[in-house]
Each structure stands twice: as C-alpha cells, then as structure tokens.
C-alpha cells in the first residue's frame, strides 16, 4: 500500500513522547493507570511500525520512508530520517521488545511514573538512532539514549546499580567522544572538498580521504561501536549493567542497545573507510572469535543466571561481528539475522529470569533446583528460549548462526571453525544452567510454593516465542528484504563508492564511476 508522504518515521520516533506527556499529567498514586497507558502507547507504537514491514519495497538498496527537513541551516545539518533493509527489522525489534518489556515491568512499584516516562523516552531515542541518516542527528540520539538507560539502571536496579550505571555511561561516553572527533574531521573534509556544509551520510560517503588519516578515523569510529557491541576487551560493563538493570531494562539493553554497536559498524564505520576495513579485518575477526569463545567459556562458570546470559550475549554478538567482517553476502546477512535472533532469544531469556526474580528475588543458580515440577509451563518456555539461543535447527538461532559461519568459512575458514565451537559451548553452558535450575529434586523449601506463570506473563512468552519459530521455519521474508541493502553494504565496505548513488535512489553519475575505477 503506498504510504504517500505520511511521515511514518517521525511519527514512530516522537509518538512515545506523546505518551510521556500523557503520563506526566497522571497522578503518581494510581500506578495501574500509568502502567496501562504506557503499555497502550507502546502497543500503538508497535502497530504503527507494522506497515513499515509490508510497505517496504523489495529489491532496491535505496533508503525508504525518507524525510528530510532543514534542522540547523547554519551548519548544514538536516533532520534526515530513512530506513533500508538493515534498519527495518531493528526498528521492528525495538518496538516489539519495548512493548513486551513494558508489559513485563508490572513488578516495578517504586516511582512508576518516572520509570514509564524514561522508558518511553528511551524508545524514542532508540528509534531515532536507527532511522537517523544525518551524522549529527545520529550522534544526538546516540548520546541522549544514555540518559534514560542510565536512570533505568541507576534508580530501579539491583544492589550495585550505581556502579554499573556510571560504568555503563562513562564507557559509552568515552567511546562516542572519539567518534565525535572523527565526525568533525569528516565534516570539515567534506567542506574543503565540496565547499558546502553537510552532515548527510550520503554526502560524506562520497568523500575521498587521504590514506594516512583513514586508519585513525576508522579506529575512532570502531572504538565507539566496539564498546557498544561489546567486543572482547571492552565488554566488562555488560555483565554489571545487565545484572543490576531491572528486568525490562536488561531486555532492552541486551535486545537493542547492543545492536547499535553492530549497526554502527554496518552503517558508519565500515562503509566510510573501506581501505581500513581490509587493513584491520584480521584484527577485528580475531577479537570477534576471542569474544565468542571467551564469552562462552566465562558464561559456563557463572553462578548468576543474568550474568550467564550477559556473557552469552558477548558470545552471540561475537558471531555477528565475525559475520560482518567476513564481508560476503551469506555471512553479513547471517550476522544481521543473528542480531535480530539474539534480540529475541536473549530478550526472552531476560524476561524469564525476571519472572523468577520477581518470585524469589534471587538470581543465583544454586538457590533453584527442580522448578520444572512446580512450574511446568515456565520450564517449557525457558527450554524453548534456551534452545533458540544455542542455535537448535527449526528455531531462529540456527538460521542466523549457520549462515554466518557458512559465509565466514568461505573467506576465513580458520576463524569460522573457531567460531563454530560456540555451538558446542553455548549448548554446554545453557543446558548445564537449565539442568541445575530446573531438574534434580526440589531441595529448597521456598521453591515448593512457586506459582506458575500468570496470564500476563503467559501472553508475553507466547508473543516472544512466535518470531522464534517464524524466523526458524520461514526466514525468507527477512532475508529477501535484507539482501539488497547487504549487497550495497558489502560493495561499500569493499570500496565501490558508486553504490551510494543507488542508495540515494539517483542514477549513478558516470564521473564517480570512472574516478572510482581509476582510484582502485
């Protein structure tokens, strides 16, 4: 159905703010009214995002639903929003997971009003990050997103929440500060080259940068996104942030915030500096593989379920990065699909852990044992989530992981083999945890009287299990929507600048084609 010029992306981005306004006027006491309004807002938000999926034109790497308004005329910064194959599903994932996590935060009863306001504000900024095509606008959403997340972890978190919140904030801040330096450099290079001031992604992509500076710029961008992914050496903030964040917070943190790192690599870091991508490919692949194996091994020995799932995220996202840097069609689309799968399966795991945390207020594995007897439905949903996370065929994890490793094997066989060990290790730590929590007799008396899922929790789990089976059994609609953008990304990351014109929907002008041929 033709969308005409209905500014769907702006509506999507700023609709939660309407919710914030409504909640702001509700009295603090009637907590339920606040919860339901927040939930209804997030449901409407999800419904608005559905037409994106259907009205998405297949086959073209062009950006769709584009909106461009002058924002800061004196600097040449535009309010430039648009999505393509890569960001379509990330936006859908955002709205879907936010809806579920708001529904899952019924157990929050301290300052519910501020909680819901910061949650909806977080959703606005997240969608903004994914849809922004103007570097300054991207940076604005990228930084502002930290504030609500900082409040979520800091105010409603666990015992060491403050340390985790400040560590999370500063870690990301240091990274993005260097990125700001790189953006400024590109901004002025573009001004020197073309005489016009502009932050647009397309314009800056066409830049010719002198090779001496390119590695430093690449590393500046890469550091900011590597911290967010998190890649191996920069991951220590993740377990703390996840363990201390409230349930809904860690769902969003794992489900979406980590994807911004990989999204950053795909949208900004690699297309801008193809020469540096070749130069650092081995380094980043090695870090990704270390991340995979390291994350899995450390997850094996965790006593706290949430920390275990956090380290498993490090491992899964290592696979995504492996896929990205292997730079062929199968591995990149596998990596992209793995990002969405990880969002769903880890989101599900966190929701589940949150449910038993609400009942028993502890996350240590040894506190539990034999719960399957008392909570059979919960046990089955947990099992589905576990198997989706460790990549059982028929569920979503397998498709992404297999494609990534398959593609990676084509270009870098050794790294793919090392990455494939993750399948064994993920099965090991997840099943071992599952066994210690759900099987064996019930030793702890408190576990005896655990109630099974109530209706609300049941709905959440049913909703999150559906995409698991959908992607597992019929991933074609996802893959075909991603394919053109992934091909464009690979061309860009390999240095063919002419793709940019297709992405803008304009016809490729010969000048750049010729100059590009000369340059290579």
């Amino acid at each position: 159905m033709e969308m005409g010029n209905f500014p769907i992306l702006s509506v999507l981005t700023f609709f939660p703010l309407v919710g914030v306004a409504i909640i702001a006027f509700i009295n603090r006491e009637n907590v339920n009214v606040i919860r339901w309004t927040a939930f209804v807002i997030s449901v409407i938000e999800f419904i608005i995002s559905i037409p994106l999926y259907f009205a998405f034109k297949l086959g073209t790497p062009q950006f769709q639903f584009v909106e461009k308004l002058p924002w800061i005329k004196s600097w040449g910064a535009y309010y430039y929003m648009g999505i393509d194959g890569i960001t379509l599903f990330l936006v859908l994932l955002t709205t879907f997971l936010t809806m579920l996590s708001i529904l899952a935060s019924w157990s929050i009863n301290k300052r519910v009003k501020e909680y819901m306001i910061s949650f909806l504000f977080l959703e606005t900024t997240m969608i903004g990050v994914f849809c922004a095509l103007d570097l300054l606008l991207f940076y604005l959403f990228w930084e502002v997103m930290l504030i609500p997340m900082f409040l979520l972890i800091g105010v409603w978190g666990g015992p060491r929440r403050v340390y985790a919140a400040i560590k999370f904030f500063l870690y990301t801040m240091v990274g993005s500060v260097l990125m700001l330096g790189a953006i400024i450099y590109l901004y002025w290079m573009h001004y020197k080259a073309t005489g016009t001031l502009s932050f647009e992604l397309m314009e800056l992509l066409k830049l010719k940068l002198d090779p001496r500076v390119v590695p430093f710029l690449f590393l500046a961008f890469a550091l900011a996104f590597a911290i967010k992914v998190p890649m191996w050496p920069f991951h220590t903030w993740l377990p703390d942030a996840h363990v201390e964040a409230p349930t809904a917070g860690s769902v969003i943190l794992a489900g979406i915030l980590l994807k911004m790192g990989t999204y950053g690599f795909m949208r900004f870091c690699m297309p801008f500096f193809p020469a540096a991508v070749q130069k650092f490919a081995i380094l980043f692949l090695a870090l990704a593989v270390i991340g995979i194996i390291y994350g899995a091994l450390v997850a094996l020995v965790q006593e706290d379920i949430k920390k275990l799932v956090a380290y498993s995220s490090v491992s899964h996202l290592g696979t995504c990065m492996l896929g990205l840097f292997a730079l062929n069609l199968q591995s990149v689309s596998g990596g992209l699909l793995q990002m969405i799968n990880h969002g769903i399966s880890t989101g599900a795991l966190f929701l589940l852990v949150g449910m038993i945390y609400d009942r028993r207020h502890t996350r240590l594995i040894k506190e539990y044992g034999g719960i399957a007897k008392v909570m059979p439905i919960y046990a089955t949903f947990f099992m589905i989530a576990v198997f989706s996370s460790c990549g059982l065929p028929g569920l979503n994890g397998f498709v992404g992981e297999f494609l990534t490793l398959l593609g990676a094997f084509k270009t870098y066989p050794l790294f793919a083999v090392l990455g494939a060990t993750a399948t064994v290790l993920s099965a090991a730590y997840l099943l071992w945890m599952y066994k210690r929590v759900f099987f064996h007799e019930i030793t702890n008396p408190e576990n005896m009287k655990l109630k099974d899922l109530n209706l609300r929790e049941f709905i959440i789990m049913v909703l999150i299990v559906i995409p698991m089976f959908w992607i597992g059994l019929y991933p074609k609609p996802f893959l075909e929507r991603m394919q053109p953008s992934v091909e464009a990304f690979i061309k860009l990351a390999k240095g063919e600048k002419s793709v940019v014109y297709q992405m803008e929907g304009r016809k490729v002008n010969l000048a750049s084609l010729i100059s590009e041929k000369l340059e290579r």
Binding site: K167, L170, Y171, P233, H235, T236, W237, Y294, L297, V298, L300, V301, Q302, L329, Q330, S333, G334, G370, A372, K373, P376, F387, L392, P393, G394, F398, V399, F402, L403, L405, L406, F409, K410, P413, A416, V417, A420, T421, T423, V424, A427, A428, L431, W432, K435, F438, F439, H440, E441, L473, Y474, P475, K476, L479, E480, Q483
Partner: protein
C-alpha cells in the same frame, strides 16, 4: 508422491503437537492420538516402499527454506531405496514400541504420560525428516532434532540427578559430533557451491583427494557422535536412564543408526576417499571389540544391551567401511528388530521387578515370565548369529565382505567379537532366566506383563526371526535391492562376488561364524549354568583386567579429567577471575581510581590561604611571561 511423503512426516508432527499443546486435556488418552499418528505413516511408508520397489523415485521440494545469494536450501524430500528401507524400519518398530509403552508407562502422572508420547512422536517426526531429506542441511535439522528428543526423553524422569546429567551429556556429546558435521557442510558448500544431494553427488568428482578425505572424515566425526562410536560413545550407556521403550526406539533401533544412514547416503563421497573408508572400517571394528569386552562383565541388564548396541553399530560401520553399504544397511535393518525386541524384553523384566536391573539379584525367572523369556532368547539367538535367524544373515554378509575385500584383520576382529557377543548375550539369559533365584523377594514379585506389552514382544520376535530370510529373495535379496542405488553410483565391479553363496571360500566363512556363535553360547552355558570354570574364581584370577573392564576403562573419568574439568577450571579461575575481573576490570577501575587520586591531589592545591593564591598567581604570571619571551 509428495503428498504421501508429506503425510508420513507431518502426521507424527501433528500427533506430537496435539499431545504437546493440550497435554492437560489428553491425559490418559494420549496414546489414542500417539499410536495412530505412527501407525498410519507406517502403512503409508509400506506403500511407498512398494512403489520404490517398482522403480519409482522422488526428489522434490516442498518450499524454499533459506535462499541467500547462491546458497539456496529447499525443504525438499528424496525417496529412493535407502530412505524407503529406513522409513519402513523406523515407522514399523516405532509403532510397536508405542503400543508397548502404553503398558509400560501406565503408572506415570497424567501430564507426564501425555508429555512422553508427545516427545516420542516428535522423535519419529525428526527421524523421518532426517531420513527423507534431500539436502545435507535438512538432514542436519533432523539430526539435531533427534538429538533434542533423545535429550528430552533421557531426562524424562528429571527428578533423578543421574537422568538429568545423562540427558545433558547425550546432547552435548552429540553437539561435539555435529560440530564436525557442520564443518564438513561448510567445506561442501565452499567447494561445490550447494548442499543438495544430487548437486553434491553430481559434482563430487571435482573434489581433490585430500579435500574429499577431509570432508568424509568430518562427516564420519558427526556419525561417531550420533552413533556412539569410539571417541564419542560415552553418552549411550548413561542414556539408559530414560524409560526402556525410549532406549529401545532411540538407542537401539533408529537414532543411533542415523550415522550409518548418513555414511551410506554419502557413499559417493566415501568412494572418492579410500583412506577414510579404512578409518571408518577400523574404528567400527575397534568399537565393536571394545564395547563387547565391556559388556562381558557388566551386571546391569540394560547396560549390557547398550554395549551390545555400540558393538553392533561397530559392525555396521565395518560393513559400510569396507564398501559393502548394502550389507551395513541390511545389518541395521535386522538389528533394529532384534535389539528393539531385547530392550523391550529387558523393559518388561524391569517393569515386572519394579525397576530392578541388577542381574546378580535375578535368576530362575523363566517359569515366572514365560513369554518375555522366550522372546528374549529368540532375540539373543538372532544377535549371536545362529543361522536361521536375522542376525546371522546380516553379520555374516558383513564379515564375508570384509574378508573378500581384503580386510583380513578386521574380519578376524569381527569374528572374535561375534563370539564375545554370543557369550555375553547368553550370560545374560542364563543369569536372569535360568539357575536358582538368588533374591527371594524379587522372585515372588516377578509376574508376567499384560498382553499390551507381550504382544509387541511376540510380533518383534517373529520378525527378528524371519526378517533375515529377505536376503534369499530373488534379485540378490535385500542387499540386491539396495545395491540398485549403490551400484548405480559407482560401477566399480570389484565387489562382484557378493550376495548368495559362491564357491568354497564363502561356505568356509559361514561355517566359521556359525561355529564361533555356538562356541560362545556353550562357554556361557558352561560358566553360568554349570559353574565349571566358576566366574567368581575367574574374576579373582584376572582381578586387574576385571576391574578395568567393569569400570568401563575409566573412559568417563578420562574425559572429565582431559576435557571437562580443565575447561571449567580454566574458565573459572583464569578466564573469569583473572582476565575478566582482574585485568580488564582492573584496568578500567584502575583508570577511574587514578583519575580520582589525581583529582584529590590537584584539589589539595587550593589551600584556602590567600598568600598561597597570590603566590600561585605570581608563578602563573612568570610561566606565561616566560612563554611569551621564548616564543
């Protein structure tokens, strides 16, 4: 044709879904859904078998699962001789086991009952997908799905710690095997561009020798994981924790044979890599001998059968390894029947004695459980290779091919193992059913099981007796039927002298194998009935060997010591505690603390005393003027 195949696959899935989703409704009546859900596909598969027998083949796709660039994976099905045989065996044996488990699981909780049947149906669904898939990836889906169901069913009584551990162990060991399988798939895709069978087999000749060997060895690594061969067999003995029908269906008849099926299916690749054929054969033989030796001394009824399964699988791999794919599959076919039967008999013994498995406590149960005993003896005879029964035909054919194709040592090992097989089977028979009852209480409570359990025993006993005769059918019998597929592949003729009975050489081989079988039975009879070389004295004399065998060569402990404990230890103490907490977090927190220390230091400059401020300003001026003077 496609509709029939879809029916065969989807009906068990439907049965499983119904039982799974509405388990609190179907409660006691779960079997009314589960059994027909297997029976109908059994009938259809017979029809399909009939069609394939008349030369019809099918290789089509239902829908495109993953298609990214030139990597296109269909949900497609291939029906030819091999898969027809497999679906018949699977569905037929599964039906009778479902009927049997109605009786066996009668004292389970309502929901547990439905859950059991749901898992069983799921298992059959995955097994059929594995067998009928027309590409390696869909086979891999079935492959892992079967592993999942074995995990669920082994861990059915999850209260028992041993069952839960066994389930996890099974799944992870399978996953280790699947890792090798996956790497093989990557290699195949990288060099041949597709994973669909007919594309792969068509362009298989392009593979260089080392590449083909590598792929086939990795595929075989997957097979060892799934079919419990030497390195990755440890999970099968522990898998006995699950209910006995499960052991009989999964760990005897169907799942463990998946490895053999896979090797048989990719015979084109294996023919290209003679070295890996040698590896398969030798590992098969080694496993056979190794497992049989452990079975000699084990006192647990089901563990003995488990080791015998591992040993028989070794045989199948020997068959396949020496190039006689048809013989290997034939042995698989016959083994499904008599091993399934024996497990069910063991199950009924266990059911009757309320879960008692230790053979020392049993004895003289013959007159209390007449039908179980007789069927058990038929099974034992079949497995030992006594002529008219099924085991003889298939095992002899394998040994024959081994000898003919020049693998003399393997033939010799096979024959010795045959003797050992006969010995430990009849040791089991004599210990449980004959001689004087050793435990009074056990003897009283022993009773025959209701017909719902005994009928499947009788049916399977009949088939395990007669199914061997298929080898005598016209056109080369069972193997001839299969060879239509395998011969078509490689028209090499050196195995011309197969099947039937040639001149003197073959007769001698048959004689030896029969002789060996009777020798084993006689020895068992002598030791356990007549106590002439009294087993107790023998164990005293060979104490060290006995303990080594009894403790299963300490393999489990070896694996734990070599792989599991070090990884857990390293990852806890080195990776997590030191690298993550000390080094990386140390650096991060260190920088933070350094900043606040420096901050505290600099803060101390502001002493609040005005002359100090004036002094500092003067120094500032001096520095700034100095800067100006110098530059």
């Amino acid at each position: 044709m496609l509709k029939l195949i879809l029916a065969v696959i989807l009906i068990p899935l439907a049965g499983a879904m119904i039982n799974g989703l509405f388990c609190w409704k179907t409660k006691r009546k779960a079997h009314l859904i589960a059994v027909p859900a297997i029976a109908i596909p059994a009938v259809i598969s017979l029809v399909l078998f009939w069609k394939v027998a008349h030369g019809q083949r099918f290789d089509g796709t239902f829908y495109w699962w993953i298609s990214v660039g030139n990597f296109r994976i269909p949900i497609g099905f291939l029906l030819d001789e091999l898969s027809a045989v497999m679906i018949v065996t699977v569905t037929f044996v599964a039906t009778w086991i479902h009927i049997y488990s109605i009786g066996y699981m009668d004292h389970e909780t309502d929901r547990g009952y439905a859950k059991y049947f749901c898992y069983l149906n799921f298992f059959v669904f995955f097994m059929l997908t594995l067998v009928l898939a027309n590409n390696y990836l869909l086979m891999f889906v079935g492959w892992e799905g079967v592993g999942l169901c074995s995990y669920l069913l082994i861990g059915y009584w999850y209260e028992k710690a041993s069952a839960a551990n066994a389930g996890m162990k099974a799944f992870i060991t399978n996953r280790v095997g699947d890792f090798g399988f996956m790497i093989a798939l990557f290699l195949l895709y990288k060099h041949l561009g597709s994973l669909i069978y007919h594309d792969v087999f068509a362009s298989a000749h392009e593979l260089t020798l080392p590449l083909a060997t590598l792929i086939t060895l990795l595929l075989f690594m997957g097979a060892t994981g799934k079919s419990a061969q030497i390195p990755l067999y440890v999970w099968l003995p522990d898998a006995m924790e699950g209910p006995t029908p499960v052991s009989s269906l999964i760990h005897a008849a169907t799942m463990v044979t998946a490895g053999v099926y896979m090797v048989a299916r990719s015979h084109v690749l294996y023919n290209l890599a003679p070295f890996s054929m040698e590896v398969v054969a030798s590992i098969g033989a080694a496993t056979a001998m190794f497992a049989a030796s452990m079975a000699l001394v084990n006192n647990d009824l089901k563990r003995v059968l488990a080791y015998s399964t591992v040993s028989q699988l070794g045989y199948m791999f020997v068959g396949v390894g020496v190039g006689a794919y048809a013989a290997g599959v034939f042995h698989l076919f016959t083994h499904a029947f008599f091993k399934g039967l024996m497990f069910l008999c063991a199950g009924s013994v266990m059911h009757a004695l309320h879960g008692e498995l230790d053979m020392q406590k049993m004895g003289g149960l013959y007159n209390k459980m007449k039908i179980t005993a007789i069927t058990f003896i038929i099974g034992a005879l079949a497995i030992s290779g006594v002529p008219p029964l099924a085991g003889f035909w298939s095992k002899d054919s394998i040994l024959h091919h081994a000898f003919v194709s020049g693998h003399k040592i393997i033939w010799f090992v096979g024959t010795v193992t045959a003797a050992m097989t006969a010995f430990y089977m009849f040791r089991l028979i004599f210990l449980t059913f004959f001689g004087e009852p050793r435990d009074k209480h056990i003897y009283e409570i022993a009773h025959e099981n209701p017909p719902v359990m005994t009928i499947p025993l009788m049916v399977l006993a009949f088939f395990s007796a007669t199914v061997g005769l298929l080898a005598l059918l016209p056109g080369g019998g069972f193997e001839g039927f299969l060879n239509r597929l395998f011969e078509a592949a490689h028209h090499g003729a050196e195995h011309a002298a197969h099947g039937g009975h040639e001149a003197g050489g073959a007769a001698v081989l048959i004689l030896i194998s029969v002789l060996v079988a009777f020798m084993g039975i006689g020895l068992a009879y002598a030791m356990y009935m007549k106590h002439t070389p009294d087993p107790k004295k023998l164990t005293e004399r060979f104490r060290p060997i006995y303990t080594l065998l009894y403790n299963r060569y300490y393999v489990d402990e070896l694996y734990f010591a070599l792989f599991i404990n070090p990884t857990v230890g390293i990852s806890r103490h080195v990776l997590w505690k030191i690298v993550d907490v000390l080094i990386i977090d140390g650096i991060v927190n260190g920088v933070a603390r350094l900043c606040s220390l420096v901050g505290n230091l600099i803060r101390k400059i502001h002493t609040g005393f005005i002359p100090d401020y004036a002094w500092a300003i003067l120094v500032g001026i001096i520095i700034v003027c100095g800067l100006k003077i110098i530059f």
